[in-house]
Amino acid sequence: MIYIKDTYATKTGELWDCGLSDLLKEVIANIDTSQVDAVYVGNMLGGVLNEQLNLGAKVATIIGRNLPVVRVEAACASGGVAVNQAWQALKAGFYSNVLVIGVEKMTDFSNEEVARALAMAADNTTEFNNGVTFPALHALVAQAYLNKYNLAPAVLDAVSVRSHQKAFADDKAQFHKKITEDDVRASAMVTSPLKLYHCSPISDGAAAIVLSTEQTDLELAASVTLASREFALADRSDLTSFAVVQEAVAKLDLSELEIVEVHDCFVIAEIIALEDLGIMRKGQGWQEPEHVKVNVRGGLKAGGHAIGATGVKQMVTLAEEMRTHQYQLGLAHNVGGVGAQVALNLIKKR
């Protein structure tokens, strides 16, 4: 069995005084790496934005030992897939202690540069070349969802308000700003029907966990990752749910789930996630579930979304919350693209 030992996350936000190396140094300085025998690093934009590839050597240099280090890129699911790869390597018996780091540095660049870099996670031929951005792709999903269930765009607003309220629970969240539904309605239209407050921010941040064969109080009980056979949105048979997530969910027993971190890069993504995970019924994902705690620290929407770090930060959040509040079963739901790839990591309290 595989367990979670050590965890650490930097602040997520506009960290002007931190570069990519500084973020890596901070997480590594706050984790016991003495027993680590391999490292997996989730990162999407190191090459495109930071002009820093070969992150493996960077990480080994900061740790100060020759180590096997693998960089994992799966768009916004880079962190969650890195956790999955580390879990698999431990299960296969190759290592005893594996460090998983998620890291992203985005705020050194203009919105246009970041939007273009992120859009490379869409299908190049049919989407990127047409000038598509991720807000626009999620807006198409939102329009289709609202139309299918005959809902007003206002149902999106309460989801944003909840996320901002919850972010006060996290000192390291990007936003500590209370907003109302009126604030959401008054915010700038980005791509109809998504307004500014329906979107997660551009963020810097890093997070790390050590997975181990040595028993602790938290077991990484299951880990599933799947990439979709319907990459481009135009290939989907249904825009209002992500088939690849539903297929991954079917591999897990979530009947006693108590806490979940869902990938809410846009509020419509949270709504669809809650429905795909079976937590809410179809057409009702915009309401707050009563039986499962969701994004208790504001999620990506208010906590921040440092792309490659997100899937690992979700694990850090769950580990800390499960240790503090004695939740028995928690899930990290990390999605790359618009439902193009998913990583689900299930934690059990022991």
Binding site: G131, T133, M189, T191, S192, L194, L239
Partner: protein, 86 residues
Amino acid sequence: MKAPKWQRYRNNLKQDAGKNGQVLACTFVNDNWLALVKLNDKNVLLQAVKETAVLAIGDCVKLVLRKGEKVAPENPLQYRLKVEKI
């Protein structure tokens, strides 16, 4: 852009130009309508032509070959497939 990529791009444009379809989803972004359009054999994601009025889910549209406004004349991508409301 290297020639083979441009050739592939032109072939794709010719293949779909003139087809009719129906809007599955649409969004207004950066002063443009972006629409996901259902054709007989597949779906395509394209921008609407500037003159197009407000698009809505369910609208019938035609795919037309148009010159882009925001790209340099020497760029082969100045030709784009767009949607026009019928």
